[in-house]
Symmetry: C2
DNA sequence: CGTCCATTTGACCTAATTCAATACAGGTGG
DNA sequence: CCACCTGTATTGAATTAGGTCAAATGGACG
C-alpha cells in the first residue's frame, strides 16, 4: 500500500491546482501554508467582506460565483466583477495592505479557500514564484477591465447584452435538445450595471433581444433557441 | 574630494527614484541594470510601440506624456490610458510575454527609460523586491480602470468631462493671475474616448461647460476662470 | 390568499447619435 | 506677411436611444 504523504499540498486535490497561485510553494513552506489554510462554504447571498474591511488574506474561489461591487456614497452600487472558481479575489487589499474597496458577496452557494494575511505574506516572501503568479492574476483583472471599457465604447447596448448573456450561458448553461438553458445568477440591476444602463433600459433591451428571437427570458430562466456558433 | 561611486544606480538622479521599481535592486545587480538601461527621447507624435509588437522590456516614463490606445478591427481606436512621468508602461507584455495589446505614442515631447526584456527578467528573478513593486503598479492600473468604470456609471457626461479637464489642468496647467491655463495635450477625439462619447457630442458638452462659465476652450487652449476649490 | 419586492410598462423628456455641411486652426509656400 | 490648403473641430437638423418618474404587473413566499 502507498505511504501517505505527510504534508500534502492543501490545493493538491483542487481542479485548478496546476494554475494555483500556491502551486509554486516549496516543500519547506507547505506545512506553513496548511497551517492557516481554511475552506469556507458560503450560502447564496452571504457577504464575504464589506467595503472598508481589512484584508483577510488571499482568497481563492473554489466553487460557486462571487460578485465584487463598489458601493457609492449616494447609496447606489456598481457590479465590478464576477469571480469564478480558480480565480483569486481580494488581491488588491492583500498586496497593498489597504482596506477593501469593494464588497464581496456570493451569488450562488460557494466555497472559498483563504490563506490569512500574515501567513500569506510570509509564504510570498519565501516563494518568489507565488508573487509572480499573483502578478499574473492582477494582469488578468487589467485585461478584464480593459475589455469592458472597450466593449462599452464599441458595442451597442443590445450587442453588449447579447454577448454578456452568451458568456453567462457558456459558464452556467446546459444543453437541452436543440437549445441552451440556464438559471441567471444575476438580478436585473446587476445585468444593467454590467452593460452600464438603468434597470428600466435593460428591461427594454431584453425585450428587443426576445423580439429578435435570440433569447427567451422569464424571471431568471434564460433559453437560447440556437447554439451560438451553429 | 569625494570618491566617485563606481556603480551608481541608473535611476539615482530621477525625481521618482524612491518609488522606482528598480530602487530595490541590490548592489550586486546594479551593474547588470546599468548594462541594458537606455534613455530615449521621443518627439511629440512618435510611436513607441505598435499593437502586436513584442515586449521591449520594462519602460518607465521619465518626462512628457504617453498615450496607450487599443486599435479595433474596424479601424477605430480607444484611448485607454495616459501615462505620466514616474509610471511604468508595457508591464503586461513584460510579465506575460504576450504581444502588446495597445499602441503607445508620445502626446508631448517625452523621455522614457527602457530596461530590455532579457535583462529585466534576470534582474526581477534576483530581486524579489522589484516584482513586488511591479505588482503594485499593476494594482494602480486596476484602480484607474475601476475608477473609470465607476465614473462612467455614476457621473453625467458633463460632470465627467469637467472632472477630466480639471485633472488635466492639475497636471498641465499653470496659474496666471486669477485663472489657470493649459495647452490641452489631447485631441477632441481622445477627450471623447475618455468619457465614452462621439466627438460631435463632446463638442456640444464643451459648449455647455463654456456656457456655464466653468471653462473657456479654444482649440487647445483651456482656461478656468476660478481656481477649483476657491 | 395576501404581502412584498423585483420587474416591467407607459409616457414624457432629455441627451446622444448620425450624417452632412460649414468653420476654423495650424502649417506651407509664394 | 499673406493666401491657401488640409485635417480637425463645430454646427445643424433629424432620428433614436436612454433617463426618469409613476403606475401596473408578476412571482416567491409565508
Amino acid at each position: 500500500m502507498p505511504i501517505p504523504t505527510p504534508n500534502p499540498h492543501p490545493c493538491g486535490q483542487c481542479a485548478f491546482y496546476s494554475q494555483s497561485v500556491w502551486e509554486p510553494v516549496g516543500k519547506s513552506s507547505v506545512a506553513a501554508l496548511r497551517h492557516r489554510f481554511t475552506r469556507t462554504d458560503l450560502p447564496e447571498g452571504q457577504t464575504l467582506w464589506k467595503q472598508g474591511n481589512e484584508s483577510a488574506g488571499v482568497i481563492c474561489v473554489s466553487r460557486g460565483l462571487i460578485a465584487l461591487r463598489s458601493l457609492h456614497s449616494d447609496g447606489s452600487s456598481t457590479l465590478l466583477r464576477l469571480a469564478y472558481p480558480g480565480e483569486i479575489i481580494g488581491i488588491r487589499s492583500f498586496l497593498t495592505g489597504r482596506a477593501h474597496q469593494t464588497e464581496a458577496k456570493a451569488l450562488q452557494p460557494s466555497r472559498v479557500c483563504v490563506v490569512s494575511q500574515n501567513r500569506a505574506n510570509q509564504i510570498v516572501q519565501n516563494n518568489p514564484g507565488v508573487l509572480s503568479r499573483l502578478a499574473i492574476r492582477c494582469i488578468n483583472e487589467i485585461d478584464r477591465t480593459h475589455e469592458r471599457i472597450i466593449a462599452a465604447a464599441t458595442m451597442s447596448n443590445k450587442e453588449h447584452l447579447a454577448a454578456l448573456l452568451q458568456r453567462l450561458m457558456d459558464a452556467h448553461g446546459e444543453k437541452i435538445g436543440d437549445h441552451y438553458r440556464m438559471r441567471l445568477p444575476l438580478s436585473r440591476s446587476d445585468l444593467a450595471d454590467l452593460i452600464g444602463v438603468q434597470p428600466e433600459t435593460l428591461s427594454r433591451i431584453v425585450g428587443r433581444l426576445e423580439k429578435d428571437g435570440r433569447f427567451k427570458i422569464t424571471g431568471r430562466k434564460v433559453v437560447t433557441p440556437i447554439p451560438p456558433c451553429a
